[in-house]
Amino acid sequence: MTVSILLFLPVIAAVITAFIKNGAAKHVALFFAVAELAVALLLLTRFVPDASVQFSVSYPWLPKFGIYFTAGIDGISMIMVLLATVLVPLIILTTYQHQYKNAGAFYALILFMQAGMLTVFTALNGFLFYVGWEAALIPIYFICGLWGGENRIRITIKFFIYTFAGSLFMLLGLIYLYLHSPAKTYELSNLTSMGLTNLQQAWLFWAFFIAFAIKMPVFPFHTWQPDTYTVSPSAGTMLLSGIMLKMGIYGVIRWLLPNVPVGFLIWQNIVMILAVIGIVYASLIAFNQKDGKRLVAYSSIAHVGLIAAGIFAYNTQGMQGALIQMINHGINVVGLFFVWDIISRRLNTRDISLIGGIAKVAPQFSIAFLIITLGTVALPLTNGFIGEFLLLKAVFNYNIWIAAVAGLTIIFGAVYMLRMYKQVMHGETNELTALFTDVTGTEKLVLGIICTLIIVIGVYPQPLLHISEAAVNNLLADISQKVSAMTNK
């Protein structure tokens, strides 16, 4: 039982699904996504939550250049694997009400993207990490471009160029690390074990950080995000916001911090300030959005800004908070985009000011929407609370003033999310919303699962935190040891 099953199953699934004709494709895709989830859960049951890397594989790939197919799962990766394997079947279920043309290709691309993302989350070789990183990008480009809304050509190419540009600099960073490493391989353990000067680390930091910052996105690298989220088909938006942006956050934890710890500490302050600016800026724009999907897109920038700030605070709470908040943000944002998908499919508009009074005609939908909204605004006993609490505590330990500004995210978030909820669900039912039918079938199933997850994680987050605890502690201890060794030199 190794991680290769996890990585190759979606590739095989994608190839099979590509040849399935229209109607059956979604069922086949769902079958494989659930199978993949089962594999992940099986791995979880055998997982020992200590700091070690488990289920690992290492095959020679291009050994002359130090490139190996090395992958494995530790506590941090396990959280990410769970995120990617839980959300993909949910996302496939959300598409059940849509009739996509060339459905086979659509679902094949989703599964192929999942393979790329899981590779990113488990790779322990720099080359493999980069390949997974790009392999996840190509499918989402086609998903957004082929099944997206108007203006998609201009917007998707902008998205592609942004992310591709970022990742090429990361590639240079990886090659640079490799050339200066003692054993001349791309293995993570080798890349982290070398001694670059402080100046080199300060430069290399940006080679990696730009790639990750574009993916998350952190202000001011976010300009591709609102447009892309808005024009993409909702499944594409969910993949982007639910899973793919976590590649950037995970990259910071796994590749940026251990490889250039001194560079990380040199720029820590600057990034914290950027993250906080992003939080306030995105929240202020979210206030003024008329398009519900766009509002959620901006709220996502604000939430991710807080996660970034938590990581750059560089302590255990921040790291743990970031990991659990990645899961929570994934669940909540998929829920919110699904809610807007349901609304726009029924009403053919996402304009908040035109919609009102849905709660009266669709009570079940209204409850689900409320739970998701509360999870997003981090009400205690919902999943968002524990994550944001840990993150804010981490930022507070770092600097009280930054924490004060970052704390605004909770207030701002509550204001614009609840205002959106009130506007859409309460008030008088108008001509447009009078015929709104309540959720049915798969919609009910998806919303049910999401609401359950929100409440269960909110009430009892301990098992999730326990998975990653040892790995996070080990990582931080390792790095502080290395940093003190460098400063003593």
Partner: protein, 459 residues
């Protein structure tokens, strides 16, 4: 060695077949002949090759590898030519023969061990190409291409020959080993003549591979020549040019890199930017490919600027990836041009809904040319970047990355046209030979991209 003999006799055989009007047999005979030649090339795989013919030629791994890739690319191109030359003229046998003569010259170019053989190889190839560029006798553009190519080619050959003469004057030999000994033994007493000769050789070689600022002939010649000949020129000929360039410099001038590397560095940066930025503004797919081939020449020059032990395999991987992807691109262009009568990007609109297979293979080719992982093009770029960073040319690599980003715009224009736009034109007819070549090339591109160790350790 046997390969060269086969490739020299084969065209003569084809000419006789043409004389007896056996036009149907031309394609099978040339393909089989080439495959036999390829087989003999593999058979000569030898780690400890010795110079032959009094030190004129050396069939080492380098030459076998580059002979194989050029022969293989030629086979693919010839398969595309079924029914192509018949439309242009009645003297079909001559075209097959001339292409194979050019290939014979190329084999000499990648296995020379003496400057004279380098010159002879380049001339055999070039003279054949002048004719091929002008084979559409009544077409104005084709004639213009041939004339331009001939004038520029003759000019650059002059530079090259002058350079070789000066190097001979300084070192007293045409033999690569003797020249290297001259350079290594007394590096402080190298005559200024030698350096002048070296610069002239660089100019001559840069003309041949189409590097800026000696690239002006490329777009016009590529556009004017029949598309199939353009394919041959931009893949096989370019590969051969770089192989010869690299062979000469790694054999003779490696220790003088402090002198010539700055010159080539400037040429590389110019080539990258001129090729890429001009390609951005093209409306014609064929012209875009011509300019993008200039920028690929820039990436290939990396291996020479950062000359090292791995340069040969980097050039080999990059050139193979580039050749295979270009063959797909040109094959698709020929098919689309047949239907729409135009080379513009617009004629690719909506291709994906009518011809999913053709669109898919062209997408693979474009992704490979753009250097996206899991395609061969990425492996090539990865090797080039690694090598240049290894020599601490960080700024060169940063500029190359900027160029790779620019290139996304024009490569993705085709993908966008095929998948995201619509058309009222019908399905493009794809003959079986084309399906085979397109499919095989796409598979090669992906297989090398997924498992590059297959070819990266050959040399």
């Amino acid at each position: 060695m046997t390969t060269l003999i086969i490739l020299s006799v084969l065209p003569l055989l084809l000419l006789y077949l043409g004389l007896f009007k056996a036009n149907k047999t031309l394609l099978p005979v040339s393909v089989i002949g080439l495959l036999v030649g390829l087989g003999f090339a593999f058979a000569e795989w030898n780690a400890n090759a010795q110079p032959i013919f009094s030190g004129m030629m050396l069939f080492d791994r380098f030459s076998v590898a580059f002979s194989s890739i050029t022969i293989l690319s030629t086979v693919l191109i010839l398969l595309l030519s079924k029914g192509y030359f018949e439309k242009i003229s009645s003297h079909v046998a001559e075209y097959y023969a001339i292409i194979l003569f050019a290939l014979a010259g190329i084999i000499v170019m990648v296995s020379f061990h003496n400057m004279v053989m380098l010159f002879i190889g380049i001339e055999i190839m070039s003279v054949s190409l002048y004719i091929l560029a002008g084979i559409r006798k009544n077409d104005f553009a084709s004639n213009e291409a041939a004339l331009k190519y001939f004038l520029m080619g003759a000019f650059s050959t002059g530079f090259l020959l002058f350079g070789i003469t000066l190097i001979y004057g300084a070192s007293g030999s045409f033999n690569l080993e003797a020249i290297r000994n001259y350079v290594v033994e007394s590096p402080r007493e190298i005559s200024p003549l030698f350096y002048t000769g070296l610069l002239l050789v660089i100019v001559g070689m840069c003309f041949k591979v189409g590097a800026a600022p000696f690239h002006f002939w490329t777009p016009d010649v590529y556009e004017g020549a029949p598309t199939l000949i353009t394919t041959f020129m931009s893949t096989v000929v370019k590969t051969a040019g770089f192989a010869a360039f690299l062979r000469l410099f790694s054999a003779c001038f490696a220790t003088l890199s402090d002198f010539w590397a700055p010159v080539l560095l400037i040429i590389t940066v110019l080539t990258l930017f001129i090729g890429n930025i001009t390609a951005l503004y093209q409306q014609s797919f064929k012209r875009m490919l011509a300019f993008s081939s200039i920028s690929h020449a820039g990436y290939l020059l990396f291996a020479i600027v950062a000359l090292g032990s791995a340069s040969a395999s980097s050039v080999f991987v990059y050139a193979s990836a580039y050749s295979v992807a270009s063959i797909i691109a040109f094959a698709a262009l020929i098919l689309v041009h047949r239907q729409s009568g135009s080379d513009s990007f617009d004629s690719f609109n909506g291709l994906a809904s009518k011809n999913p297979f053709l669109a898919f293979t062209l997408t693979v080719a474009m992704l490979s040319l753009a250097g996206i992982p899991l395609t061969a093009g990425f492996v090539g770029k990865f090797f080039m970047f690694s090598e240049a960073l290894n020599k601490y040319q960080i700024w060169l690599v940063v500029l190359a990355v900027v160029n790779a980003i620019i290139s996304i715009f024009y490569y993705f224009r085709v993908i966008i046209a095929m998948y995201f736009r619509t058309t009222d034109r019908g399905e493009v007819a794809v003959p079986a030979y084309y399906t085979f070549v397109l499919g095989l090339s796409a598979i090669i591109t992906i297989v090398i991209g997924v498992y590059p160790a297959l070819i990266s350790d050959l040399i």
